[in-house]
């Protein structure tokens, strides 16, 4: 009986492990394909592959409009990431230091912008910023809009991190005569630094890769995804593969560093 069980377990496990493998092939396939074709000299992304080339990357470097959109995206993502992390930290720290009766309600309110489809958020912000605030389409609009869903995201990450910092430590600091600001600066901030860095990096990529909202509100200052969208509408261009490969590798690296800080243990 036990032997039979073991045999069946071994067989089932092997099938499941193979399934994991296949699932990861499926998940990484689009990324691999873009990278392969970005280095392929053929104009059309079809098989069989032709010679190895880096000419599409060189061509990118000559496209000043594209480079401009990269610059726009970097400005937006960096600003959004900074504002979101500050707002998220302030909110998370406040939630921790006072027992709010409606805490669950507040958290639900914070989760709402993360669950609403970006199309709705984009339309709402387009109407609000353009027609009611008369803020002409600009990078500022994109920054404001992206912060709407990035700030709550940062709040949730930092809140999870702050939970690991024991409250007794904070009290000890006060007992030793540290003021509230000094405690935050010298105890809380260093202890939840990994959470802050993770929040900053993850919100950076969220903003950097966001397309729909930016498309609606960016106007004549397109961000990179908006620019890529226009390129895609214009037919097949091998340079899209090159910029795609760069974006994939860039985003995944930032995400990996973020994940590293997210998983870091506190000694608090």
């Amino acid at each position: 009986m036990t032997i039979l069980n073991k045999e069946r377990k071994g067989w089932g496990d092997r099938v499941l492990k193979f399934y994991i493998f296949m699932a990861f092939v499926f998940l990484f396939l689009p990324i691999a394909i873009i990278i392969v074709f970005s280095l392929n000299s053929g104009r059309y992304p079809s098989f069989p592959l032709q010679d190895f080339t880096v000419k599409w990357y060189k061509e990118l470097m000559l496209d000043s409009r594209l480079l401009g959109s990269v610059k726009n995206s970097l400005i937006v993502a960096a600003t959004v990431s900074f504002i979101s992390t500050v707002l998220g930290f302030m909110g998370a720290y406040a939630l921790r230091s006072y027992k709010l009766k409606a805490e669950n309600f507040f958290l639900g309110f914070m989760a709402a912008p993360l669950t609403v489809p970006t199309l709705l958020l984009g339309l709402a912000l387009l109407i609000f910023l353009n027609s009611f605030l008369s803020l002409q389409n600009s990078l500022l609009s994109v920054i404001i809009s992206h912060t709407v869903f990035c700030a709550p995201f940062a709040l949730f990450i930092i809140r999870a991190r702050l939970r690991n910092v024991r409250i007794s430590m904070e009290e000890a600091a006060w007992d030793l005569g540290a003021g509230r600001w000094q405690t935050v600066k010298e105890l809380i901030l260093p202890l939840c630094a990994p959470g802050l860095i993770a929040a900053a990096l993850l919100t950076f990529t969220l903003s950097f890769d966001e397309f729909i909202i930016a498309w609606f509100v960016s106007g004549f200052q397109p961000t990179l995804p908006v620019k890529i969208w226009t390129m895609m509408r214009g037919g097949i261009k091998p340079t899209i593969n090159a910029i795609g490969a760069i974006v994939f590798i860039f985003s995944m690296s930032i995400l990996l560093i973020g994940e590293y800080f997210l998983g870091k243990k506190t000694n608090g």
Partner: protein
């Protein structure tokens, strides 16, 4: 152990009696941001949906015309039903594909590899959605990887057209939302007390019985929350249907974008958006009720 925790609670209570003025200083900036730039704009959608647009500008003149238009014109309804069906299919597909994956990671993979696998899974999920959809366009094209493989395997002679049909849309949806579903399922499976499973085995329950009586019921909350998310996000997705599905059979979001980018009729777009919001809320309420009944049932039973 109990001593320590009660001590901790006492400290917390003491700690949390601080004057709330500081609390407000911390909580206010993010709350104001969300009230001004999230709640207000979303409320505006409702108001604008009852206004009219003249010469590309919103005019404050109340009307029900947008709604009567939507309800009387079939293209809107066809697109709505299409979106609904595509979203439901995405829920089923991603649940079917994600369930064995989450199970395998939670119960077959050794503990030290689990986090690694989950991080590896999030990587492609987190990258640019637009470029991923573009990549699927390349893979599913008539001379793309998928058709080439089928040709090499002698399964087909002429390529099958998948690109610019909603089969391709579903591929895009599934690729994206399967990860979300796996993460939620995994977190509810990982939380299952492994002693419970061992106890079941010791009492003579086979693998199947352990699965159906312990693992499956306890993974249901993850499955339901995952389904809600997948439904909302695929119903509200514009990128996959337009890049992979093409424009011949537009989905609801494509109708909305047409009103925004094409005719620049923001009040019509708002009315369509209101219908989307209402749909999402109904689905949310129906599903969440189900979660409540399940969690209530498992705690009493």
């Amino acid at each position: 152990m109990p001593d320590q925790s009660s001590f901790k609670i006492e400290k917390m209570v003491k700690f949390r009696n601080f004057p709330p003025i500081r609390f407000f200083v911390g909580i206010l900036p993010i709350s104001l941001w969300e009230i001004i730039f999230f709640m207000l704009p979303v409320l505006l959608i409702f108001i604008v949906s009852f206004l009219i647009v003249k010469e590309l500008r919103l005019v404050f003149q109340w009307t029900l015309a947008n709604y009567t238009d939507i309800f009387s014109k079939t293209p809107y309804w066809v697109a709505y039903v299409r979106s609904f069906r595509l979203a439901l299919t995405a829920v089923v597909l991603s649940a079917v594909l994600a369930y064995p994956l989450a199970y395998a990671i939670a119960f077959v993979v050794p503990a030290r590899f689990r986090r690694l696998l989950m991080v590896a899974m999030i990587l492609p999920f987190w990258t640019n959605y637009l470029i991923r959809a573009y990549s699927w366009q390349i893979i599913l094209a008539n001379n793309g990887l998928f058709n080439e493989i089928l040709k090499v395997l002698n399964i087909i002679e002429t390529p099958i057209s998948i690109l610019y049909t909603h089969v391709a849309t579903e591929v895009g949806f599934t690729h994206f939302y399967m990860v979300l579903m796996t993460m939620l399922l995994y977190s509810s499976m990982d939380a299952i007390n492994r002693n419970l499973m061992e106890a079941a085995r010791d009492l003579g329950a086979g693998k199947l019985r352990t699965f159906f009586e312990i693992i499956f019921p306890l993974s249901l909350p993850g499955l339901i929350v995952g389904s809600i998310f997948v439904f909302i996000m695929s119903f509200g997705d514009f990128v996959a249907p337009s890049i992979l599905g093409g424009g011949k059979k537009p989905v609801f979001t494509q109708m909305v974008v047409d009103e925004i980018q094409g005719t620049v009729n923001l009040s019509m777009a708002s009315a369509l958006a209101v219908i989307m919001v209402v749909t999402i809320l109904i689905v949310l309420i129906l599903f969440l009720r189900r979660v409540e009944s399940i969690t209530a049932g498992s705690s009493t039973g």
